[in-house]
Amino acid sequence: MKSMSILKSLPGVFRAGLAALLLGLVGQAHAYINGWEGTGAGTAADPRTFELTAKHDFISTSDGGSHYTWGYSFGTDLPMQYPGPTLIVRQGDTVKIVLNNTLPVPVSIIFPGLQGVTATGGNPGQLTREARAVPLSEGAVVAGPTYTFIADKPGTYLYHSGTTPDLQVEMGLVGALIVRPNGYAMGTTDSHADRKAYEQPGTHYDRENLFLLSEMDPAIHWEAYWQVFSGQPTIAVDTSSIKPSMWFINGRNAPDTMLDDHVDWLPTQPYNALPRMHPGERLLMRVVNAGRDLHPFHHHGNHATPIARDARVLESAPGVGPDVTSPDFTVRSVPGQTMDLIFEWTGKGIGWDVYGTNAINPHTCNGSASPSNVFDPVTKEWCGDHNKPIPVIIPGALDLSFGESYSGSPYLGLTGALPQGHPGLNTTGGYFHMWHSHNEKEITTDDIFPGGMMTMLIVEPWSVVLFEDQP
């Protein structure tokens, strides 16, 4: 693929991120899931087209390790990535995915949850048509099958290799697919009423994040590495003994999950997992389990309401929107399943003013210095607790060990004194809430705590401008 056409197919945010990287800058969190929109109009005559190439490379883990991995790359020139490129299409699009291979094993792609996928070209395989194995000595990019489908139902999907998936998904051949609904529009910074996960009412959101959960057993990767590079005629890794010891969100372990997208020292792990939002905004969580174990994904801060499972809205009748759902504080993420949830946070009703009293931080709520039972239209402060102090004395710095993401102040948007040696990672007074697997063994990376399947949500005060959302 020509580099220009690659660049054209990038969403604006990615282009901006790339530009920022070229300038040596670090971009910011966004309202937009990083991914690829392909080329073409999405019609039968001009399908929305993606070219993916299966490659091998290494990923870096938070314990300092690096591990041999197989993955899909976008086009033919970029490195493989873990997880594979996030594909973003529109409801009704005819989607064409062209698969190439460079790996010494046959590979393929299947799209669970999508009907009517046709595969042409390549060789017949067990679950779908495959690209043939390419011996290392051949060193070529070999064309494989083309998969075509109509993305008739919106939602969150995953895709992965359909060739010995017990090994190849473990090795990294997995990614997410997002189908935007009819009527979807990114909107502008100030107006995004049509920013919706589904056609139904009740599925609109302000910001969205992907949480693709997975795990790996390093022993499998070393075995595959040895077999490939010692020139074994066939690659046969025993997967019956897989025992994961590394856990990932979007292909990274904590704390790498909190770095920016596309940091240049993680060239094969481009996606972060750092949700940031303002009070009162609706955050769409797209939770994809791309591994082999269930994970209880616990989101500190507040409950979240599931709106869809496996790209089907949790509704009692077609079109009414999510009405057979109840909020929870932990997402049960089942292998192969996707869940979409809406998370909101305002701090309503906790009994004290999250912005501090008027003495600490002079401010009004809905134009008044006194409490009232409304939200402030701008800051989304719950005025019922306006000007109420925290009812306890917070001990001094000698009594406490401050976490790296504490601002020194208990109040949203304020900072305070921190002891010498504190890294001062929270400069905006944002509220950091851990989002993580509550099977807490999984917040380690190969025997090292902390790590694994963990990241942070940052609730930022409205005074902090989050990278805005223009498509």
Binding site: G202, S245, L294, H295, P296, H298, H300, G301, N302, H303, T305, S316, P322, D323, V324, T325, S326, P327, D328, F329, T330, R332, W345, T346, G347, K348, G349, I350, G351, I390, P391, V392, I394, P395, G396, L398, D399, L400, S401, F402, G403, Y406, P410, L412, N426, Y431, F432, H433, M434, S437, H438, N439, E440, K441, T444, D446, D447, I448, F449, P450
Partner: protein, 419 residues
């Protein structure tokens, strides 16, 4: 004998060292309860009228210590643990002397909606591990609209140092079954046992009209209901007897590595003691506090070595009563599925929310099994009016957890006795 005397002599030294190290930094036990600290007496004791266990209206307070201790497994093995103990009734000056007092499960925290809950946590240091300087926290797991300062997630706030106290404040707006645990170095401190039941009862418990719906039942159960799980508006979550049952599990290798100051096996963590409320079967049905392990008595005077496991998991009811099970899972490794040998289970809540859709549709469901991952909770009602009196077993259908390490016929199991 020499070794034992030496250990006994070392113990106060270790405590004094911990105190000394921190007192030079000006730390102190500091209990806070209510506006103007009106719920605390001059000695730092929480006044009985404010003790959360007495279910006061308005301000409710509790004081927990966090440190280490020993517990007994159902097969007789002793495990070294980290944990909480209830020091609500102790003068502040005595709290730091509360060595090796860790309970498992942690003291149950029972609250009422609309209370102002003040929870003081004092870090009493690790008696057996004077090399550790670990802070501790309480994470009120599931508390809605949380702010980091009281969330106990130390990366975004702080942990409390040895010899010091912190008081968390929670306005209790939302009834339901939550849980609590230490979030400091969470994988380690949770595997080590800093886990407990926590639930909030609804304001509807004061609604006598709905409570009296129970009086229309046939004798001898023609009495008011005891309470409700949620503010359901219709009495559909009414119960007569309620039991919090927390599912947990421990890896003895991890605990032994901790006590012997060895690297901790995170990667190879494998829980082989599966428990309910801090005990494996048959200890789950022993209504008495378990005697403290010999090792604990050995280090402390017998007179001060209290039980480390006062909570049991026996469920008893009279035929016709509605049983509420407040189930939660704080295992750090496993999903568990629980069944009650065919007793009809109706799930009315999960994640501290009534199972009711946004437009009021009931989403209750009947089942004979409930699955929970770490950090998940559910409320289950069992209507015993149509079941025979007798003893039923409530157990994990993950049958590999029906053992106490290598002792079979134990583990994650208890009894439901219907008289």
């Amino acid at each position: 004998m020499i070794a034992k005397t030496f250990r006994k002599a070392l113990l106060p030294l270790a405590v004094a060292a911990a105190l000394g190290a921190t007192s030079s930094a000006g730390a102190a036990v500091f209990v806070q309860c209510g506006p103007g600290n009106s719920g605390v007496d001059a000695t730092g004791k929480i006044l009985p009228a404010y003790d959360a266990d007495t279910l006061p209206t308005g301000v409710a307070c509790k004081h927990l210590s966090a440190g280490d201790g020993f517990i007994s497994m159902a097969d007789g093995r002793t495990l070294y643990t980290f944990g909480f103990a209830d020091v609500t009734a102790k003068p502040a000056a005595d709290v730091m002397l509360n060595s090796l007092a860790a309970n498992f499960a942690a003291p149950t925290i029972k609250l009422k909606q609309n209370q102002d809950f003040y929870l003081t946590l004092t870090n009493v240091a690790m008696t057996m591990r004077p090399d550790l300087f670990d802070p501790h926290t309480v994470h009120f797991h599931g508390y809605p609209q949380a702010a980091p300062v009281f969330d106990g997630m130390p990366e975004g706030s702080f942990g409390v140092n040895m010899g010091s106290s912190v008081t968390y404040y929670y306005k209790l707006n939302d009834p339901g079954t939550y849980m609590y645990h230490c979030h400091q170095e969470a994988t380690e401190h949770m595997q080590m046992g800093m886990l407990g039941n926590l639930y909030v009862m609804p304001e509807q418990d004061a609604n006598s009209a709905l409570l009296n719906l129970g009086m229309s039942r046939p004798a001898p159960n023609n009495v008011p209901f005891k309470g409700f799980v949620y503010n359901d508006g219709d009495g559909s979550t009414a119960y007569d007897v309620a039991y919090p049952l927390q599912l947990t599990a421990m890896d003895p290798v991890f605990h032994d590595a901790s006590l012997s100051i060895n690297p901790l096996p995170f990667k190879n963590m494998k829980d082989t003691y599966a428990m309910i409320n801090g005990r494996g079967y048959p200890d789950t049905v022993n209504t008495a506090p378990l005697p403290p392990p010999a090792k604990k008595v050995d280090y402390l005077l017998p007179a001060v070595a209290a039980s480390s496991q006062p909570i049991n998991a026996l469920v008893t009811a009279t035929k016709g009563q509605r049983i509420l099970l407040r189930l939660s899972n704080l295992s750090v490794t496993e999903y568990f599925t629980i069944t009650a040998q065919g007793l009809p289970m109706k799930v009315v809540g999960a994640g501290a929310r009534q199972l009711r859709g946004p437009d009021g549709k009931d989403l209750y469901y009947e089942t004979t099994s409930v699955t929970l991952g770490g950090g998940e909770s559910a409320e289950v009602l069992i209507d015993t009016s149509q079941v025979e009196a007798g003893t039923y077993f409530l157990y994990s259908t993950n049958l590999k957890y029906l053992s106490n390490n290598d002792q079979d016929n134990g583990g994650m199991m208890t009894e439901v006795v219907i008289n």
